[in-house]
Protein backbone atom coordinates (compact mmCIF):
# COMPACT_ATOMS: atom_id res chain seq x y z
CA UNK A 1 0.00 0.00 0.00
CA UNK A 2 2.76 2.44 0.84
CA UNK A 3 4.37 1.79 -2.55
CA UNK A 4 1.09 2.55 -4.22
CA UNK A 5 0.99 5.87 -2.41
CA UNK A 6 4.62 6.56 -3.31
CA UNK A 7 3.79 6.08 -6.98
CA UNK A 8 0.58 8.11 -6.64
CA UNK A 9 2.48 10.96 -5.00
CA UNK A 10 5.08 10.97 -7.74
CA UNK A 11 2.46 11.00 -10.49
CA UNK A 12 0.49 13.80 -8.88
CA UNK A 13 3.68 15.81 -8.46
CA UNK A 14 4.56 15.22 -12.11
CA UNK A 15 1.32 16.93 -13.17
CA UNK A 16 2.36 19.97 -11.18
CA UNK A 17 5.98 20.25 -12.31
CA UNK A 18 4.74 20.37 -15.89
CA UNK A 19 2.19 22.91 -17.11
CA UNK A 20 -0.33 20.04 -17.33
CA UNK A 21 -2.18 20.56 -14.05
CA UNK A 22 -2.36 24.34 -14.43
CA UNK A 23 -3.49 24.29 -18.03
CA UNK A 24 -6.08 21.60 -17.44
CA UNK A 25 -7.60 23.26 -14.38
CA UNK A 26 -7.62 26.69 -16.02
CA UNK A 27 -9.34 25.46 -19.16
CA UNK A 28 -11.71 23.33 -17.13
CA UNK A 29 -12.75 26.20 -14.89
CA UNK A 30 -13.12 28.56 -17.85
CA UNK A 31 -15.48 26.19 -19.62
CA UNK A 32 -17.27 25.53 -16.34
CA UNK A 33 -17.58 29.29 -15.81
CA UNK A 34 -19.11 29.68 -19.23
CA UNK A 35 -21.72 26.99 -18.51
CA UNK A 36 -22.42 28.47 -15.11
CA UNK A 37 -22.83 31.97 -16.48
CA UNK A 38 -25.19 31.02 -19.31
CA UNK A 39 -27.32 28.73 -17.16
CA UNK A 40 -27.57 31.22 -14.35
CA UNK A 41 -28.44 34.07 -16.73
CA UNK A 42 -31.16 31.99 -18.28
CA UNK A 43 -32.45 31.06 -14.86
CA UNK A 44 -32.54 34.65 -13.64
CA UNK A 45 -34.31 35.83 -16.79
CA UNK A 46 -36.84 33.10 -16.34
CA UNK A 47 -37.46 33.96 -12.71
CA UNK A 48 -37.86 37.58 -13.66
CA UNK A 49 -40.52 36.63 -16.18
CA UNK A 50 -42.21 34.44 -13.61
CA UNK A 51 -42.36 37.38 -11.24
CA UNK A 52 -43.71 39.75 -13.89
CA UNK A 53 -46.50 37.45 -14.92
CA UNK A 54 -47.24 36.45 -11.38
CA UNK A 55 -46.47 32.78 -11.69
CA UNK A 56 -45.54 30.83 -8.62
CA UNK A 57 -41.86 31.42 -8.16
CA UNK A 58 -41.19 28.25 -6.26
CA UNK A 59 -41.90 26.24 -9.40
CA UNK A 60 -38.40 27.21 -10.39
CA UNK A 61 -35.82 25.00 -8.74
CA UNK A 62 -32.26 26.31 -8.93
CA UNK A 63 -30.86 22.86 -8.24
CA UNK A 64 -32.83 21.38 -11.11
CA UNK A 65 -32.13 24.21 -13.51
CA UNK A 66 -28.57 25.25 -12.72
CA UNK A 67 -26.65 22.91 -10.45
CA UNK A 68 -27.62 19.60 -11.99
CA UNK A 69 -27.21 20.52 -15.68
CA UNK A 70 -24.00 22.35 -14.82
CA UNK A 71 -22.49 19.22 -13.27
CA UNK A 72 -23.77 17.05 -16.07
CA UNK A 73 -21.97 19.27 -18.54
CA UNK A 74 -18.87 19.35 -16.38
CA UNK A 75 -18.76 15.57 -16.40
CA UNK A 76 -18.96 15.59 -20.18
CA UNK A 77 -15.99 17.96 -20.29
CA UNK A 78 -14.18 15.60 -17.98
CA UNK A 79 -14.77 12.87 -20.51
CA UNK A 80 -12.74 14.88 -22.98
CA UNK A 81 -10.04 16.04 -20.59
CA UNK A 82 -9.29 12.78 -18.80
CA UNK A 83 -7.91 10.79 -21.73
CA UNK A 84 -5.30 13.54 -22.10
CA UNK A 85 -4.45 13.37 -18.42
CA UNK A 86 -4.13 9.61 -18.32
CA UNK A 87 -2.54 8.88 -21.68
CA UNK A 88 1.01 9.29 -20.46
CA UNK A 89 0.71 7.31 -17.23
CA UNK A 90 2.06 3.98 -18.47
CA UNK A 91 2.58 4.55 -22.19
CA UNK A 92 5.29 7.09 -21.53
CA UNK A 93 7.12 4.82 -19.12
CA UNK A 94 7.30 2.20 -21.82
CA UNK A 95 8.27 4.56 -24.57
CA UNK A 96 10.97 6.41 -22.68
CA UNK A 97 12.33 3.24 -21.08
CA UNK A 98 11.70 4.27 -17.48
CA UNK A 99 9.43 1.22 -17.29
CA UNK A 100 12.69 -0.67 -16.84
CA UNK A 101 13.36 1.20 -13.62
CA UNK A 102 9.83 0.71 -12.39
CA UNK A 103 9.42 -2.95 -13.24
CA UNK A 104 12.84 -3.99 -11.99
CA UNK A 105 11.96 -2.49 -8.61
CA UNK A 106 10.09 -4.76 -6.23
CA UNK A 107 6.64 -3.41 -7.03
CA UNK A 108 3.68 -5.54 -7.98
CA UNK A 109 1.49 -4.73 -10.98
CA UNK A 110 -1.39 -3.64 -8.79
CA UNK A 111 0.93 -1.26 -6.91
CA UNK A 112 1.72 0.39 -10.21
CA UNK A 113 -1.81 0.40 -11.56
CA UNK A 114 -3.27 1.56 -8.25
CA UNK A 115 -0.61 4.23 -7.82
CA UNK A 116 -1.05 5.62 -11.31
CA UNK A 117 -4.81 5.62 -10.84
CA UNK A 118 -4.66 7.39 -7.48
CA UNK A 119 -2.23 9.98 -8.83
CA UNK A 120 -4.49 10.97 -11.71
CA UNK A 121 -7.63 10.61 -9.57
CA UNK A 122 -6.00 13.04 -7.14
CA UNK A 123 -5.86 15.62 -9.91
CA UNK A 124 -9.51 14.93 -10.72
CA UNK A 125 -10.35 15.33 -7.03
CA UNK A 126 -8.71 18.71 -7.13
CA UNK A 127 -10.63 19.71 -10.26
CA UNK A 128 -13.88 18.61 -8.62
CA UNK A 129 -13.05 20.60 -5.51
CA UNK A 130 -12.45 23.66 -7.69
CA UNK A 131 -15.87 23.31 -9.30
CA UNK A 132 -17.43 23.78 -5.88
CA UNK A 133 -16.88 27.46 -6.44
CA UNK A 134 -20.05 27.60 -8.59
CA UNK A 135 -22.51 26.27 -6.00
CA UNK A 136 -20.70 28.33 -3.36
CA UNK A 137 -21.40 31.49 -5.36
CA UNK A 138 -25.05 30.42 -5.61
CA UNK A 139 -25.22 29.76 -1.89
CA UNK A 140 -23.95 33.27 -1.22
CA UNK A 141 -26.72 34.96 -3.19
CA UNK A 142 -29.52 32.47 -2.98
CA UNK A 143 -30.59 29.20 -1.52
CA UNK A 144 -29.55 25.84 -2.85
CA UNK A 145 -30.32 22.38 -1.62
CA UNK A 146 -27.00 21.13 -0.19
CA UNK A 147 -27.83 17.40 -0.45
CA UNK A 148 -28.30 17.06 -4.20
CA UNK A 149 -25.49 19.57 -4.78
CA UNK A 150 -23.06 17.48 -2.80
CA UNK A 151 -24.32 14.36 -4.55
CA UNK A 152 -23.69 16.02 -7.92
CA UNK A 153 -20.13 16.96 -6.95
CA UNK A 154 -19.40 13.50 -5.55
CA UNK A 155 -20.93 12.03 -8.69
CA UNK A 156 -18.64 14.17 -10.81
CA UNK A 157 -15.65 12.86 -8.91
CA UNK A 158 -16.83 9.24 -9.15
CA UNK A 159 -17.45 9.57 -12.88
CA UNK A 160 -14.04 11.16 -13.30
CA UNK A 161 -12.40 8.39 -11.28
CA UNK A 162 -14.10 5.78 -13.47
CA UNK A 163 -12.84 7.56 -16.58
CA UNK A 164 -9.34 7.72 -15.15
CA UNK A 165 -9.38 3.98 -14.52
CA UNK A 166 -10.24 3.27 -18.16
CA UNK A 167 -7.57 5.75 -19.18
CA UNK A 168 -5.03 3.81 -17.11
CA UNK A 169 -6.04 0.64 -18.91
CA UNK A 170 -5.66 2.28 -22.33
CA UNK A 171 -2.27 3.67 -21.33
CA UNK A 172 -1.16 0.23 -20.14
CA UNK A 173 -2.23 -1.35 -23.39
CA UNK A 174 -0.45 0.98 -25.79
CA UNK A 175 3.04 2.35 -26.07
CA UNK A 176 1.71 5.28 -28.05
CA UNK A 177 0.16 8.08 -26.01
CA UNK A 178 -2.09 9.32 -28.79
CA UNK A 179 -3.45 5.82 -29.36
CA UNK A 180 -4.08 5.53 -25.62
CA UNK A 181 -5.90 8.87 -25.56
CA UNK A 182 -8.05 8.17 -28.61
CA UNK A 183 -9.06 4.67 -27.54
CA UNK A 184 -10.01 5.74 -24.06
CA UNK A 185 -11.90 8.76 -25.36
CA UNK A 186 -13.84 6.68 -27.87
CA UNK A 187 -14.62 4.03 -25.32
CA UNK A 188 -15.74 6.50 -22.66
CA UNK A 189 -17.95 8.37 -25.09
CA UNK A 190 -19.60 5.12 -26.08
CA UNK A 191 -20.08 4.22 -22.44
CA UNK A 192 -21.63 7.62 -21.87
CA UNK A 193 -24.29 7.31 -24.54
CA UNK A 194 -24.83 3.57 -24.62
CA UNK A 195 -28.28 4.09 -23.13
CA UNK A 196 -29.36 5.53 -26.48
CA UNK A 197 -29.16 2.02 -27.82
CA UNK A 198 -31.41 0.92 -24.99
CA UNK A 199 -34.20 2.98 -26.55
CA UNK A 200 -34.23 0.85 -29.69
CA UNK A 201 -33.99 -2.52 -27.96
CA UNK A 202 -36.27 -4.09 -25.43
CA UNK A 203 -36.26 -6.63 -22.65
CA UNK A 204 -33.16 -7.69 -20.80
CA UNK A 205 -30.74 -6.16 -23.29
CA UNK A 206 -32.32 -2.76 -22.90
CA UNK A 207 -31.95 -2.81 -19.14
CA UNK A 208 -28.36 -4.04 -19.39
CA UNK A 209 -27.48 -1.27 -21.84
CA UNK A 210 -29.22 1.24 -19.66
CA UNK A 211 -27.34 0.01 -16.61
CA UNK A 212 -24.02 0.30 -18.45
CA UNK A 213 -24.56 3.93 -19.36
CA UNK A 214 -22.57 6.32 -17.23
CA UNK A 215 -24.95 9.11 -18.09
CA UNK A 216 -28.06 7.49 -16.64
CA UNK A 217 -26.30 6.68 -13.37
CA UNK A 218 -24.86 10.11 -13.12
CA UNK A 219 -28.17 11.81 -13.81
CA UNK A 220 -29.77 9.82 -11.02
CA UNK A 221 -26.93 10.54 -8.64
CA UNK A 222 -27.02 14.24 -9.44
CA UNK A 223 -30.71 14.29 -8.51
CA UNK A 224 -29.56 13.21 -5.07
CA UNK A 225 -30.60 9.58 -5.46
CA UNK A 226 -27.71 7.82 -3.71
CA UNK A 227 -28.64 4.23 -4.39
CA UNK A 228 -26.40 1.19 -3.89
CA UNK A 229 -26.93 0.18 -7.52
CA UNK A 230 -25.27 3.45 -8.58
CA UNK A 231 -22.45 3.04 -6.11
CA UNK A 232 -21.87 -0.53 -7.29
CA UNK A 233 -21.83 0.76 -10.84
CA UNK A 234 -19.21 3.41 -10.10
CA UNK A 235 -17.13 0.96 -8.08
CA UNK A 236 -17.05 -1.47 -11.01
CA UNK A 237 -16.35 1.40 -13.39
CA UNK A 238 -13.12 1.88 -11.41
CA UNK A 239 -12.12 -1.67 -10.52
CA UNK A 240 -12.80 -3.57 -13.73
CA UNK A 241 -10.30 -1.62 -15.87
CA UNK A 242 -7.74 -1.50 -13.07
CA UNK A 243 -8.01 -5.24 -12.68
CA UNK A 244 -7.52 -5.73 -16.42
CA UNK A 245 -4.58 -3.33 -16.48
CA UNK A 246 -2.89 -5.16 -13.61
CA UNK A 247 -3.28 -8.43 -15.49
CA UNK A 248 -1.84 -6.87 -18.59
CA UNK A 249 1.22 -5.70 -16.70
CA UNK A 250 1.57 -9.04 -14.92
CA UNK A 251 1.61 -10.83 -18.26
CA UNK A 252 4.28 -8.47 -19.51
CA UNK A 253 6.56 -8.28 -16.49
CA UNK A 254 5.56 -11.10 -14.16
CA UNK A 255 3.71 -10.78 -10.88
Amino acid sequence: MSKMLTIAGKELKTYFVSPMAYVVSTVYLLIGGFFFYTMLSYFSRLSLQFMQYGYQEDQLDINEMVVRPLYLNLSLVMLMVIPMITMRLLAEERRSGTAELLFTSPVRPWHVVGGKFLGAAGLIGLLTALTCIYPLVLALVGEIDPGPTAAAAVGLFLTGAGFVAWGVLASAASENQIVAAVTSFGFLLLLWVISWAAAITDGALASVLDYLSVMSHYEELAKGVVDTSHLVFFASLVFVPLFLAAHLLAARHGR
Binding site: S96, F103, T104, P106, R108
Partner: protein, 312 residues
Amino acid sequence: MIVVEKLTKRFADVAALEGVSFRVERNEILGFLGPNAAGKTTTMRILTGFLPPDEGTVTVDGWHVPGHSMEVRRRIGYLPENVALYREMTVRGLLEYLAALRDVPRRRLRASVDAAVERCALGPVQERIVGELSRGYRQRCGLAQALVHNPKVLVLDEPTVGLDPKQIHEVRNLIKELGQEHTVLLSSHILPEVSATCDRVVIIHRGRIVAEDTTAGLSARLQGDLTVRIEVRGAEHELRRILDAVPGVQTVSLQGGEEGVIRGELRMGGHPAVREDMAREIVTHGLGLLELSPCGASLEDVFLQLTKEDSE
Protein backbone atom coordinates in the same frame (compact mmCIF):
# COMPACT_ATOMS: atom_id res chain seq x y z
CA MET B 1 25.53 -15.42 -6.57
CA ILE B 2 23.82 -15.50 -9.95
CA VAL B 3 23.05 -18.79 -11.64
CA VAL B 4 21.46 -18.62 -15.05
CA GLU B 5 20.12 -21.91 -16.32
CA LYS B 6 18.94 -22.74 -19.82
CA LEU B 7 17.22 -19.46 -20.48
CA THR B 8 15.09 -19.39 -23.57
CA LYS B 9 13.14 -16.40 -24.82
CA ARG B 10 11.36 -15.93 -28.11
CA PHE B 11 9.87 -12.77 -29.55
CA ALA B 12 7.23 -13.76 -32.06
CA ASP B 13 9.13 -16.38 -34.06
CA VAL B 14 12.61 -15.10 -33.45
CA ALA B 15 14.59 -16.82 -30.73
CA ALA B 16 16.39 -14.14 -28.73
CA LEU B 17 17.93 -16.62 -26.31
CA GLU B 18 18.46 -20.33 -26.75
CA GLY B 19 19.52 -22.21 -23.65
CA VAL B 20 21.77 -19.59 -22.09
CA SER B 21 23.52 -20.77 -18.91
CA PHE B 22 26.29 -19.17 -16.88
CA ARG B 23 27.22 -18.29 -13.32
CA VAL B 24 28.51 -15.21 -11.59
CA GLU B 25 30.37 -15.71 -8.31
CA ARG B 26 30.10 -13.44 -5.30
CA ASN B 27 31.95 -10.13 -5.67
CA GLU B 28 33.04 -10.96 -9.16
CA ILE B 29 32.85 -8.62 -12.13
CA LEU B 30 31.62 -10.62 -15.07
CA GLY B 31 31.73 -9.16 -18.55
CA PHE B 32 28.86 -10.09 -20.78
CA LEU B 33 30.15 -9.60 -24.24
CA GLY B 34 28.55 -9.88 -27.61
CA PRO B 35 27.79 -7.99 -30.79
CA ASN B 36 24.63 -5.93 -30.92
CA ALA B 37 21.42 -7.96 -30.86
CA ALA B 38 23.22 -11.00 -29.44
CA GLY B 39 20.80 -11.32 -26.52
CA LYS B 40 22.65 -9.38 -23.82
CA THR B 41 19.86 -6.98 -22.98
CA THR B 42 17.22 -9.71 -23.09
CA THR B 43 19.24 -11.81 -20.65
CA MET B 44 19.62 -8.84 -18.34
CA ARG B 45 15.95 -7.99 -18.52
CA ILE B 46 15.03 -11.52 -17.52
CA LEU B 47 17.59 -11.47 -14.75
CA THR B 48 16.17 -8.28 -13.30
CA GLY B 49 12.59 -9.52 -13.46
CA PHE B 50 11.55 -7.09 -16.19
CA LEU B 51 10.70 -9.85 -18.66
CA PRO B 52 9.54 -13.34 -17.78
CA PRO B 53 11.56 -16.09 -19.51
CA ASP B 54 9.86 -18.65 -21.75
CA GLU B 55 11.96 -21.42 -20.27
CA GLY B 56 14.79 -21.71 -17.80
CA THR B 57 15.46 -20.06 -14.47
CA VAL B 58 17.67 -17.45 -12.93
CA THR B 59 18.74 -17.76 -9.31
CA VAL B 60 19.98 -14.66 -7.55
CA ASP B 61 21.23 -15.10 -4.01
CA GLY B 62 19.08 -18.21 -3.64
CA TRP B 63 15.87 -16.71 -5.09
CA HIS B 64 14.41 -17.74 -8.42
CA VAL B 65 13.04 -15.87 -11.39
CA PRO B 66 10.27 -16.42 -12.29
CA GLY B 67 8.52 -17.15 -9.04
CA HIS B 68 10.23 -14.89 -6.56
CA SER B 69 10.62 -11.93 -8.81
CA MET B 70 10.12 -9.45 -5.96
CA GLU B 71 12.87 -10.99 -3.82
CA VAL B 72 15.22 -11.01 -6.78
CA ARG B 73 14.43 -7.43 -7.73
CA ARG B 74 15.14 -6.33 -4.17
CA ARG B 75 18.67 -7.70 -4.50
CA ILE B 76 19.47 -6.24 -7.88
CA GLY B 77 20.44 -2.77 -8.97
CA TYR B 78 19.93 -2.28 -12.68
CA LEU B 79 21.29 0.31 -15.07
CA PRO B 80 19.20 0.00 -18.23
CA GLU B 81 20.76 0.35 -21.64
CA ASN B 82 20.02 3.93 -22.55
CA VAL B 83 19.83 5.21 -18.99
CA ALA B 84 16.20 6.18 -19.24
CA LEU B 85 15.39 8.28 -16.18
CA TYR B 86 12.40 10.36 -15.12
CA ARG B 87 13.50 13.55 -16.80
CA GLU B 88 11.16 15.87 -14.94
CA MET B 89 12.39 14.89 -11.47
CA THR B 90 15.34 16.27 -9.57
CA VAL B 91 18.30 13.96 -9.06
CA ARG B 92 17.51 13.69 -5.38
CA GLY B 93 13.79 13.30 -5.96
CA LEU B 94 14.44 10.48 -8.40
CA LEU B 95 16.76 8.66 -6.03
CA GLU B 96 14.35 9.06 -3.11
CA TYR B 97 11.45 7.80 -5.19
CA LEU B 98 13.26 4.71 -6.42
CA ALA B 99 14.75 4.00 -2.99
CA ALA B 100 11.25 4.07 -1.49
CA LEU B 101 9.97 1.69 -4.17
CA ARG B 102 12.87 -0.63 -3.39
CA ASP B 103 12.06 -1.06 0.28
CA VAL B 104 14.58 1.31 1.79
CA PRO B 105 12.96 2.13 5.16
CA ARG B 106 11.78 5.69 5.52
CA ARG B 107 14.23 6.52 8.29
CA ARG B 108 17.17 5.37 6.20
CA LEU B 109 15.99 7.03 2.99
CA ARG B 110 18.00 10.19 3.39
CA ALA B 111 21.19 8.37 4.34
CA SER B 112 20.87 5.94 1.42
CA VAL B 113 20.37 8.74 -1.06
CA ASP B 114 23.29 10.68 0.45
CA ALA B 115 25.52 7.63 0.11
CA ALA B 116 24.57 7.06 -3.53
CA VAL B 117 25.05 10.76 -4.34
CA GLU B 118 28.47 10.75 -2.75
CA ARG B 119 29.55 7.48 -4.35
CA CYS B 120 28.70 8.73 -7.82
CA ALA B 121 29.94 12.29 -7.17
CA LEU B 122 26.55 13.83 -7.88
CA GLY B 123 26.78 16.37 -5.06
CA PRO B 124 26.87 19.51 -7.24
CA VAL B 125 23.83 18.50 -9.30
CA GLN B 126 21.64 16.77 -6.76
CA GLU B 127 18.95 19.46 -6.81
CA ARG B 128 18.95 19.81 -10.59
CA ILE B 129 16.36 18.41 -12.99
CA VAL B 130 17.51 15.12 -14.50
CA GLY B 131 16.48 16.16 -18.02
CA GLU B 132 18.93 19.07 -17.89
CA LEU B 133 21.97 17.04 -16.90
CA SER B 134 24.90 16.38 -19.21
CA ARG B 135 25.38 12.88 -20.56
CA GLY B 136 28.10 12.11 -18.05
CA TYR B 137 26.07 13.20 -15.05
CA ARG B 138 23.02 11.37 -16.32
CA GLN B 139 25.06 8.19 -16.57
CA ARG B 140 26.26 8.67 -13.01
CA CYS B 141 22.72 9.35 -11.93
CA GLY B 142 21.79 6.04 -13.56
CA LEU B 143 24.50 4.30 -11.57
CA ALA B 144 23.39 6.05 -8.41
CA GLN B 145 19.81 4.78 -8.79
CA ALA B 146 21.15 1.27 -9.30
CA LEU B 147 23.06 1.59 -6.02
CA VAL B 148 20.61 3.49 -3.89
CA HIS B 149 19.04 0.46 -2.19
CA ASN B 150 22.47 -1.09 -1.66
CA PRO B 151 21.80 -4.24 -3.68
CA LYS B 152 24.06 -7.27 -3.60
CA VAL B 153 24.07 -7.54 -7.36
CA LEU B 154 24.57 -4.83 -9.95
CA VAL B 155 23.46 -5.40 -13.52
CA LEU B 156 24.84 -2.76 -15.84
CA ASP B 157 23.78 -2.72 -19.47
CA GLU B 158 26.40 -0.95 -21.60
CA PRO B 159 27.44 1.41 -18.82
CA THR B 160 29.87 3.54 -20.82
CA VAL B 161 28.04 4.02 -24.10
CA GLY B 162 28.02 7.62 -25.24
CA LEU B 163 30.59 8.90 -22.76
CA ASP B 164 33.80 10.71 -23.60
CA PRO B 165 37.16 9.02 -22.80
CA LYS B 166 37.57 10.80 -19.47
CA GLN B 167 34.08 9.88 -18.36
CA ILE B 168 34.60 6.30 -19.52
CA HIS B 169 37.70 6.14 -17.37
CA GLU B 170 35.80 7.48 -14.35
CA VAL B 171 32.90 5.11 -14.79
CA ARG B 172 35.23 2.13 -15.20
CA ASN B 173 37.05 3.02 -12.01
CA LEU B 174 33.76 3.37 -10.23
CA ILE B 175 32.65 -0.05 -11.45
CA LYS B 176 35.90 -1.61 -10.31
CA GLU B 177 35.40 -0.06 -6.89
CA LEU B 178 31.85 -1.33 -6.77
CA GLY B 179 33.07 -4.79 -7.67
CA GLN B 180 34.74 -5.02 -4.28
CA GLU B 181 31.44 -5.00 -2.43
CA HIS B 182 28.94 -6.04 -5.07
CA THR B 183 28.60 -8.77 -7.62
CA VAL B 184 28.64 -7.06 -10.98
CA LEU B 185 27.35 -8.25 -14.32
CA LEU B 186 28.30 -5.81 -17.03
CA SER B 187 27.41 -6.02 -20.69
CA SER B 188 29.34 -4.52 -23.50
CA HIS B 189 30.06 -4.87 -27.15
CA ILE B 190 33.37 -3.11 -26.65
CA LEU B 191 36.28 -5.41 -25.91
CA PRO B 192 38.70 -3.09 -24.17
CA GLU B 193 35.95 -2.26 -21.73
CA VAL B 194 35.57 -5.85 -20.69
CA SER B 195 39.28 -6.55 -20.50
CA ALA B 196 39.79 -3.37 -18.49
CA THR B 197 37.16 -3.99 -15.86
CA CYS B 198 36.16 -7.63 -15.72
CA ASP B 199 37.54 -10.72 -14.02
CA ARG B 200 35.79 -13.08 -16.32
CA VAL B 201 34.04 -12.94 -19.66
CA VAL B 202 31.02 -14.67 -21.10
CA ILE B 203 30.63 -14.27 -24.82
CA ILE B 204 27.15 -14.48 -26.26
CA HIS B 205 26.28 -14.59 -29.91
CA ARG B 206 22.89 -15.11 -31.52
CA GLY B 207 21.32 -16.10 -28.26
CA ARG B 208 23.89 -18.71 -27.31
CA ILE B 209 26.93 -18.68 -25.07
CA VAL B 210 29.92 -19.27 -27.32
CA ALA B 211 32.66 -18.97 -24.72
CA GLU B 212 33.11 -18.50 -21.00
CA ASP B 213 36.51 -17.99 -19.45
CA THR B 214 38.80 -15.59 -17.65
CA THR B 215 40.13 -12.74 -19.72
CA ALA B 216 43.58 -14.35 -19.77
CA GLY B 217 42.18 -17.79 -20.46
CA LEU B 218 40.35 -16.64 -23.53
CA SER B 219 43.50 -15.11 -24.97
CA ALA B 220 45.38 -18.33 -24.29
CA ARG B 221 42.86 -20.24 -26.35
CA LEU B 222 44.14 -18.61 -29.44
CA GLN B 223 47.80 -19.44 -28.88
CA GLY B 224 47.60 -21.75 -31.88
CA ASP B 225 47.39 -18.67 -34.04
CA LEU B 226 50.16 -16.49 -32.77
CA THR B 227 50.76 -12.84 -33.54
CA VAL B 228 54.40 -11.76 -33.61
CA ARG B 229 55.84 -8.29 -33.66
CA ILE B 230 59.13 -7.82 -35.50
CA GLU B 231 61.57 -5.02 -35.98
CA VAL B 232 64.19 -5.45 -38.67
CA ARG B 233 66.90 -3.20 -40.08
CA GLY B 234 67.04 -3.52 -43.87
CA ALA B 235 65.13 -2.96 -47.05
CA GLU B 236 61.42 -3.53 -46.95
CA HIS B 237 61.06 -5.36 -50.29
CA GLU B 238 63.84 -7.73 -49.32
CA LEU B 239 62.24 -8.54 -45.98
CA ARG B 240 58.93 -9.12 -47.68
CA ARG B 241 60.55 -11.59 -50.09
CA ILE B 242 62.21 -13.48 -47.23
CA LEU B 243 59.01 -13.67 -45.19
CA ASP B 244 56.98 -14.89 -48.15
CA ALA B 245 59.44 -17.75 -48.58
CA VAL B 246 59.00 -19.07 -45.04
CA PRO B 247 56.06 -21.46 -44.89
CA GLY B 248 53.44 -20.76 -42.19
CA VAL B 249 54.08 -17.03 -41.97
CA GLN B 250 51.44 -14.55 -42.92
CA THR B 251 52.28 -10.88 -43.11
CA VAL B 252 49.71 -8.66 -41.50
CA SER B 253 51.48 -5.35 -41.77
CA LEU B 254 54.95 -4.02 -42.55
CA GLN B 255 55.98 -0.43 -42.30
CA GLY B 256 59.28 1.21 -43.05
CA GLY B 257 60.32 3.59 -40.30
CA GLU B 258 63.25 6.00 -39.87
CA GLU B 259 66.87 4.85 -40.29
CA GLY B 260 65.88 1.86 -42.37
CA VAL B 261 64.06 0.10 -39.53
CA ILE B 262 60.98 -1.86 -40.57
CA ARG B 263 58.29 -2.63 -38.03
CA GLY B 264 55.64 -5.19 -38.69
CA GLU B 265 53.10 -7.61 -37.36
CA LEU B 266 52.96 -11.21 -38.51
CA ARG B 267 50.64 -14.06 -37.85
CA MET B 268 51.91 -17.61 -37.86
CA GLY B 269 51.10 -21.19 -36.96
CA GLY B 270 51.71 -21.99 -33.33
CA HIS B 271 54.66 -24.32 -33.82
CA PRO B 272 57.86 -22.71 -32.45
CA ALA B 273 59.80 -24.02 -35.45
CA VAL B 274 58.12 -21.49 -37.71
CA ARG B 275 59.52 -18.67 -35.61
CA GLU B 276 62.98 -20.24 -35.61
CA ASP B 277 62.90 -20.67 -39.38
CA MET B 278 61.91 -17.09 -39.88
CA ALA B 279 64.58 -15.72 -37.57
CA ARG B 280 67.26 -17.81 -39.27
CA GLU B 281 66.19 -16.70 -42.75
CA ILE B 282 66.25 -13.03 -41.81
CA VAL B 283 69.70 -13.29 -40.26
CA THR B 284 71.25 -15.38 -43.04
CA HIS B 285 70.09 -12.84 -45.60
CA GLY B 286 72.10 -10.24 -43.78
CA LEU B 287 69.30 -8.18 -42.29
CA GLY B 288 69.48 -6.95 -38.73
CA LEU B 289 66.87 -8.63 -36.57
CA LEU B 290 66.18 -6.12 -33.82
CA GLU B 291 63.07 -7.56 -32.29
CA LEU B 292 60.89 -10.62 -32.54
CA SER B 293 58.30 -10.85 -29.83
CA PRO B 294 55.14 -12.88 -29.63
CA CYS B 295 52.15 -10.96 -28.39
CA GLY B 296 49.27 -12.96 -26.96
CA ALA B 297 46.21 -12.97 -29.12
CA SER B 298 44.05 -10.06 -28.11
CA LEU B 299 40.56 -10.57 -26.81
CA GLU B 300 39.44 -8.98 -30.01
CA ASP B 301 40.89 -11.85 -32.00
CA VAL B 302 39.17 -14.38 -29.79
CA PHE B 303 35.94 -12.55 -30.10
CA LEU B 304 36.03 -12.20 -33.84
CA GLN B 305 37.05 -15.79 -34.29
CA LEU B 306 34.39 -17.15 -31.96
CA THR B 307 31.58 -15.19 -33.47
CA LYS B 308 32.80 -15.95 -36.98
CA GLU B 309 32.95 -19.69 -36.32
CA ASP B 310 29.46 -19.59 -34.99
CA SER B 311 27.95 -17.85 -37.93
CA GLU B 312 29.64 -20.06 -40.50
